[in-house]
Symmetry: C2
């Protein structure tokens, strides 16, 4: 079973990396860009085949390691 | 218009960061994890409201800045 975990900064948390990318896109001539925010994505293969168990396990992984829940939000989805 | 660009390493490209996360999850007691690969996600706000134009613009951004197409794949989607 394959899963995807997406970790993004919460609203209101400063994102200097996103701002740098926004500036770089502007320098390259791209216009009409409002804001850019960068996050992380984890593609995880699980040997466990029960969907509910897998989702619980993934949420647990996010709380303990993958996301800093003070400043980051996460979403978990089963992709295959 | 909001868009999400997901950039992931191509199959076969070594991902030491993903391997480190896999090891760390194991150390924390998580079992049944096959493989972990890490990627990046960009949430981009566009002032342009035409979907096709936006998708072209985003693909162009990926080719020029957001992804290293030698080792990375990217997917573009309109999220809102």
């Amino acid at each position: 079973m394959k899963a995807r975990v997406t970790v993004t900064l919460k609203n209101g948390v400063l994102d200097p990396q996103g701002q740098a990318i926004e500036g770089a896109l502007g320098s390259l001539g791209f216009t009409g860009i409002g804001a850019v925010r960068q996050g992380k994505v984890f593609d995880i293969e699980l040997t466990d085949c029960n969907k509910d168990t897998a989702l619980n396990l993934l949420n647990d992984m996010c709380e303990k390691l993958l996301a800093n829940t003070v400043i980051e939000d996460y979403t978990v989805s089963i992709t295959g």
